[in-house]
Symmetry: C2
Subunit: 358 residues, 2 copies
């Protein structure tokens, strides 16, 4: 297994992608030089499927293991869940040399990363993402956080993991709807950085949806490598890293406005990508054919492409303003210049409303 | 006014020390390139004395200013206080380009720094410390945090300020007991790094206690410069930075065991320094004469030197174990090798108990 490396000086780390590799975690954490005490953060559903091989591997490698169970779901991506982690770490006398493992989807990963970022002013953590979305997106790059009632991820920190272990076998237990939602982010990487990846997904879509090992490992590894490159260039999102937010400005606002109930994150991003591509065409950055390919692939994957009728563009734009990407009243949009290239563009709320109108 | 610089690459920042310089803050924040929106975090007592000149200076320089009032005191160095800051920043639509100012003592500084570290994954902040302790210690170096009911600063982050503004005029309103407690940290810098500073404090003690401008600016500037050098060498306390904890291992445990009521931080550190110096003599690192000079200066300053009779050494050691500086069951002590040099030494709980016994 040859890892992808995220090169960030003394904060560099490897990403391993493979099938049935959970049992390697103890050995890999030893190689990474992590301390004796390890806390696994997970939820009951994931634990039922994957906790045992992870715990056994850690114990075989001589780690002392505790497990913290959190309730499932985005509504628990809160400061209360982080408190529950802190309390456990304090009561078990975790030290600076101790580490955490996030075993689960994006919520578990973001919560665990934030707890690790802020316990004793920062301890090590490892990402073991079990959803496609987390595997290709949130587990890499060091963004951690919790939600505030007024917006997602308003509280958080940049804190890079020490190791990312991606086992595609975990996707076998993932509901189809979540798998498809994760594919939205893979398609995004193609649009922002890699025409070859985009074409590969167009060609292998059915194999990917059937969870065929080879194309799956391929698109996950390529997606992670693209994300690694972007993060290396701009770790703290001074500017360039926000290319990763292609489709997310509309996507986040849509999730927020619909109370995080109507759409999965990837579904909202899918709509956001098609809208961003459409704005890109109107702004003259993107050709009509590329736009059609984007809309077609999103749609073929089984993802939504349109803002639902009950959502008012004005309301959507209001939500964008509380998002982290606004400054001086204008909102930063990532647009696409065909497939494989991006273009930043600042738009006022009124301009966005006009452009989102059908 | 020539600043001291903390050299940390793209996170470098200046420390300004002077008298009656609060009104310079607007200009200095402009120079530092900070954004339009500024939130001042303070408490009612400090605000009554210093808020007006700070606000006026900011407005003159074109900043939009909001003020967040927090309740006074160490018991409010909690996640609830941080929540109060978050809520305000969200409701006033603070952006990534916005910044915070900590106007107050160490509690305000640590809380504000932690809120800045974790809001939108990190915004800028400025330290305007108004106690001697905060001026020579907590305002410089980027340690931020809040207390957990089981221990001080267990939750926190490293997040460097963008500017530190130290106005010695603020010390005129400081209770004498707090001034003296702050001197403990100045004496500490002499012991760990600078025999000249130690001798200067020995010579000018009365002038310092009388708040004479020149020696005060001198010892604060020298203390900050020492701290800056240590932080530059080891920002995240991998190892060397812990020299700053001379006197703090016993000091923190003593504060914790006495419920943070009997001693001010500097007073507990004063006792801790004399105890650490005494252990240093027993370990053969420190000569008897240096020990006597340390004990004498601490005592002359009006600071305590002895662990009170009602405190059991065993109980004290238990508190050290939950502190951040323990690993593998042993506790890391910073000892002194005479005045101006330090020596790390790991001790087991039993060894510490034996050495703390009179």
């Amino acid at each position: 297994m040859r890892p992808i490396t995220v090169n960030l000086g003394d904060r560099s780390y490897p990403i391993y992608v493979g099938e049935d590799i959970l049992a390697e975690i103890g050995k890999l954490m030893r190689q990474a030089g992590l301390g004796e005490k390890v806390g696994i953060v997970t939820d009951a559903k994931v634990a039922g499927l994957y906790l045992k091989p992870v715990e056994e591997s850690l114990r075989r490698s001589g780690f002392g293991v505790s497990t913290v169970f959190l309730p499932e779901g985005e509504e628990h991506k809160s400061r209360d869940s982080v408190s529950a982690i802190y309390d456990r770490l304090v009561s078990e006398r975790f030290e600076r040399s101790s580490s955490l493992i996030a075993l689960g989807g994006g919520v578990i990963g973001d919560l665990t990363g934030f707890a690790a970022a802020t316990f004793l002013r920062g301890i090590a953590y490892v990402q073991v993402p079990t959803t496609l979305l987390a595997q290709v997106d949130s587990s890499v790059g060091g963004k951690t956080g919790v939600n505030h009632r007024e917006g997602k991820n308003l509280i958080g920190a940049f804190h890079q993991p020490r190791l990312v272990l991606i086992d595609v076998a975990a996707l076998r237990s993932l509901p189809r709807r979540e798998l498809v939602a994760g594919l939205a982010e893979v398609i995004k990487y193609g649009i922002i950085a890699d025409p070859g990846l985009f074409a590969f997904v167009e060609e292998k879509l059915e194999s990917l949806l059937a969870l065929e090992r080879e194309p799956l490992v391929e698109v996950i590894a390529v997606s992670c490598a693209i994300k690694a490159k972007v993060v290396e260039a701009d770790e703290r999102e001074s500017d360039y890293r926000s290319v990763l937010n292609f489709g997310h400005t509309v996507g986040h606002a849509l999730e927020s406005l619909t109370g995080y109930e109507e759409f999965l994150h990837g579904e909202a991003v899918a709509i956001g990508m098609v809208q961003a591509a459409s704005i890109s065409v109107r702004q003259g950055y993107c050709d009509q054919e590329s736009f059609e390919r984007i809309r077609r692939l999103v749609s073929r994957a089984g993802l939504p492409t349109e803002i639902p009728d009950h959502v008012e563009p004005q309301e959507l734009v209001k939500r964008m303003e509380v998002d982290k990407k606004s400054a001086g009243g204008k909102i930063k949009f990532v647009l696409c210049a065909g497939i494989g290239k991006t273009q930043f563009h600042w738009l006022s709320p009124a301009e966005i409303v006009a452009k989102l109108a059908p």
